[in-house]
């Protein structure tokens, strides 16, 4: 009996020593830190987090992963050290909440900051910034008057003139989902097929590579996200490509240009809910929203926060666009998550790799 008892004691001591190494020690004991899993890259986040750390005196620990955060959270379960998750796509926000990995925010300040369209109706996540997927075109070879809608890209007149990154990239999947939403699966499949046939080269690279290809004359148009253009215009080595390329906001007369948002949620397993809430409030607040606009060239979601000068110039010659503001496709936004799997299947069928 005595032996059993001392064994149990030994076991407990072992566990105690082990737990000193455990991820738990990251969070619970130190309320002055919050832990963040982020789909967004660190260099996009760093300035924001630095500002938060200096005003709140709470340190933010980060793991950035472009892939696999949901799977990691699921595996870690209730002991996950993460307090918050930041995503680059509304579909992942919805998925996180569907998988039961988030807790309700219940933050009055946040509700005041961010309009209803960009908050989870159930209250599990909140959007932070938006971007549009628009058409990049060669200023030299394309008259923007001949551009119109995403649907137009199927037209034979664009044969051999379109460049694209992989069709299966989340940005393109998201756009196709909006087409499924507006026109149904059959149309979306046909669209993917026709656009693929119009490609000047095999899908490759990222959004910036397409701008480069346009500026070099390899193709005339491409789909791309707004903020990349801002980033490229700021960067000496990429400015030349970007300056030869224009931005056209499609579907302004119909459904509006396709948008997607980045957002944040607090995990169910969070041990520092208070700190996490402070960070969410901060990210939706004026300072952070301002930075989203000025530093990242995204569209801030808090009303009244201006976009950057570069973004203001987007679509300057396009009718209906003032100061970079355009008609947004808000209806499709909430449906993007549930249509994602279907859209990937359609892209597979269309052979749009």
């Amino acid at each position: 009996m005595l032996i059993l008892f001392s064994l149990a004691k030994l076991f407990r001591n072992c566990l105690f020593v082990l737990s000193l190494f455990s991820t738990k020690s990251y969070a619970s004991k130190n309320l002055k830190e919050v832990n963040l899993y982020s789909y967004r890259q660190e260099f996009l986040l760093r300035p924001l987090l630095k500002a938060f750390e200096s005003t709140s005196k709470i340190k933010v620990n980060v793991v950035t992963m472009k892939k696999g955060i949901i799977q990691r959270l699921k595996a870690e379960g209730k002991n996950s050290p993460a307090d918050l998750v930041l995503t680059a796509d509304i579909a992942n926000l919805e998925l996180l909440s569907k998988e039961g990995l988030l807790q309700k925010l219940n933050l009055k300040k946040v509700e005041k900051n961010i309009p209803k369209d960009f908050r989870d109706p159930k209250g599990y996540w909140v959007g932070l910034s938006a971007r549009a997927r628009i058409i990049y075109y060669s200023k030299k070879r394309v008259n923007p008057k001949n551009l119109g809608s995403y649907e137009d890209l199927m037209s034979k007149k664009f044969k051999g003139r379109i460049c694209s990154r992989s069709g299966l990239h989340p940005y393109n999947v998201s756009l196709l989902s909006s087409l499924v939403f507006h026109h149904g699966e059959a149309f979306a499949l046909n669209w993917a097929k026709k656009v693929r046939e119009n490609l000047a080269r095999k899908p490759q690279g990222n959004d910036r590579s397409q701008v480069k290809a346009i500026s070099e004359g390899l193709c005339d148009i491409s789909l791309g996200n707004t903020y990349y253009m801002g980033k490229m215009l700021e960067k000496p080595s990429q400015r030349e490509w970007a300056s030869r390329t224009g931005i056209f906001f499609p579907n302004q007369k119909t459904s509006g240009s396709h948008i997607n948002i980045t957002g944040v949620g607090i995990t169910k397993s969070s041990r520092n809910v208070e700190g996490a809430r402070k960070l969410v409030e901060f990210l939706t607040g004026s300072l952070a929203q301002h930075m989203y606009g000025q530093v990242n060239h995204e569209y801030p979601l808090k009303e009244g926060v201006p976009v950057s000068g570069i973004v203001k110039s987007f679509g300057a010659n396009q009718l209906g666009i003032t100061n970079g503001y355009f008609k947004r496709d808000l209806k499709a936004l909430v449906k993007l998550s549930e249509l994602r799997s279907k859209s990937i299947k359609l892209l597979n069928k269309a052979g749009f790799e």
Partner: protein
């Protein structure tokens, strides 16, 4: 008593193999219950294309690396020509650069807007792409060529060390029996080197099949890309696991075929009979040809991409935050060293036990499972480590909670231990393979003789095995160290908070089209990859001197 000991050893092997094949079995388990049946859809749409690309890639890269590796190894092993000494040292360098870096460098250099084609356009006055023909670099062909130049050193290394073991006498006997030099080479030397050649080739094939980064940049969808899109985008873990299981069964099929084809033979090299190969001197044009044949793979696999990285580094050196850089470097070296040590330790254990048990089907089966990790795509491996590890942690936590009312939290998952386990599983085969080829040099007869002379275990290990294995140990450490430095997908997914390695930082910067700013990190990876070569000595360097030293020691 002996039987009990034997049984114990089998148990040790069994437990270790089970641990090493953890990702394999968890993948298999997951594939049985997909969240939503997706296989039929895949089969009707993209899967045949994925399979075709995977096969063609493996065949292409296999042939390419085999050819490059064999030619260069043959030249430096049997001939004397200008630069031979340097080549035998430097031909392994392509292994030190992460594949996705070389891939991006080549893409940027040769694509339409890259400097090469721009130059062509300027020279010939072309205006658009339609006016001239240039092969599409982002293609299956392109990625096959690039991967061959990156991966051939595996074949070169294993073949070179096999050739170094071979005695001039075999060759002479064969020649005296009337066979010409070429016939002697193909019918005596090559067959004797088969285990090493196969090891090199299978490393190449596994690497090609599980590569994600490079094929992704080249826009060539393989099974690995399929796994990504099904798992991470369709959020269908089970469906992805089905694809992963498919990839793994190809691997198992291949390994089994190879094992079966040489199952009847035992390979031991006969060191006692050793006489150094005499090198045939190649003069004039022939010498130049040999020089070029070695220079081409070294140039494309290392010199060219590395000089570009170096060049970019100098122009961006001012932008580095040094504290960050040192931090990343520290993490990387710590991980690579620990992984190298752990792999070495377990490989020795494995090899000793396996040796003591003699030829045994069960043991061989266990070894195959334990060495599968190398063929598992990084992200699948990461998940295969993460899920069971988190389960284990949560289990311990719940026990502690119910017993003592105080949970432990997650102990291993989300810590450096998880990364190390992933490295250990992934790179075990590199270490196991090099040590095994080392053990082939120690024939059972040598042990018997030593025992008869009254040598104990300690004497045998320190006086016979140690010196004879020295080079294999170094090779094992170097290979694991270098590969750990480059590892990306598993590190990205398993790392703790605020934790970066050189490779993760490099990836983060380069995936944002900031390859040039990331160059210093790339250079650091290459240079630290060279560290063990400098410290441990080159596996092929100063062979004759080593031999003399060994003789003196014994």
């Amino acid at each position: 008593m002996k039987k009990v000991l034997r049984l114990k050893r089998v148990w040790v092997l069994l437990v270790l193999s089970a641990l090493f094949s953890l990702p394999f079995f968890s993948t298999l388990l997951l594939s049985v219950s997909p969240d939503e049946p997706v296989f039929k859809h895949l089969w009707e749409t993209v899967l045949p294309g994925y399979i075709k690309n995977t096969f063609l890639l493996m065949i292409g890269v296999g042939i390419g690396s085999f050819f490059l590796g064999l030619v260069t190894a043959t030249l430096v092993s049997f001939f004397k020509f200008p630069g031979r000494q340097l080549f035998q040292k430097f031909l392994i360098l392509p292994l030190a650069i992460p594949g996705f870096v070389i891939g991006t460098v080549y893409l940027q250099f040769f694509e339409y807007s890259g400097p090469f084609q721009s130059l062509i356009r300027k020279l010939f006055g072309f205006q658009t792409a339609s006016e001239y023909w240039f092969p599409e670099i982002a293609s299956l062909g392109g990625v096959t060529v690039v991967l061959s130049f990156i991966l051939f050193p595996y074949v070169f290394m294993t073949t070179r060390s096999a050739f170094m073991e071979q005695s001039q006498r075999f060759f002479e006997v064969s020649r005296s029996l009337g066979k010409g030099p070429i016939r002697s080479f193909t019918s005596v030397i090559l067959p004797l080197s088969r285990p090493s050649l196969t090891l090199g080739l299978s490393l190449v094939l596994m690497e090609a099949a599980s590569d994600f980064g490079t094929v992704h940049f080249f826009g060539v969808p393989t099974l690995t890309s399929g796994i990504y899109s099904v798992w991470l985008q369709m959020n269908n873990l089970g469906g992805a696991a089905q694809l992963a299981s498919m990839l793994l069964s190809f691997m198992i099929l291949f390994i089994t075929l190879e094992k079966w084809s040489r199952s009847q033979k035992s390979y031991y090299s006969l060191k006692g009979n050793h006489r150094q190969m005499e090198l045939k001197e190649l003069k004039g044009l022939k010498g130049f040809a040999a020089f070029s044949l070695c220079l081409i793979p070294l140039f494309f696999g290392f010199l060219f991409p590395f000089s570009l990285l170096l060049f970019w580094s100098f122009s961006h050196i001012g932008q580095i935050e040094f504290s960050r850089f040192l931090n990343d470097l520290g993490h990387t070296i710590f991980l690579a060293l620990s992984a190298g040590g752990l792999c070495l330790l377990f490989s020795l254990l494995f090899n000793y036990i396996q040796r003591s048990l003699g030829k045994n089907r069960l043991v061989e089966g266990m070894v195959s499972f334990a060495t599968l990790g190398y063929s598992i795509p990084g992200p699948v491996l990461a998940l295969g480590v993460l899920i069971p590890l988190a389960k284990f942690d949560n289990f311990i936590d719940s026990i502690a909670l119910s017993l003592f009312g105080n949970g432990t939290g997650l102990i291993f998952s989300g810590s450096v231990a998880a990364i190390l386990l992933a490295y250990l599983i992934r790179f075990f085969v590199l270490s196991y393979g090099s040590i095994q080829t080392g053990f082939l040099r120690i024939t059972p007869k040598m042990d018997e003789a030593a025992i008869q002379l009254g040598a104990g275990v300690f004497d045998r290990v320190s006086k016979i095995h140690g010196p004879l294995l020295k080079r294999s140990l170094a090779t094992s450490l170097i290979l694991v160290f270098v590969d750990s430095m480059k590892e990306l997908p598993a590190t990205l997914m398993l790392r703790p908070f605020n934790y970066n390695t050189l490779a993760t930082r490099l990836y983060e910067l380069s995936s944002d089209e900031r390859l040039m700013e990331s160059a210093p990190w790339g250079v650091a990876i290459v240079l630290s990859g060279l560290l063990p070569l400098i410290i441990l000595g080159h596996p092929f360097g100063g062979k004759r001197n080593n031999l003399k030293e060994e003789e003196k020691e014994s």
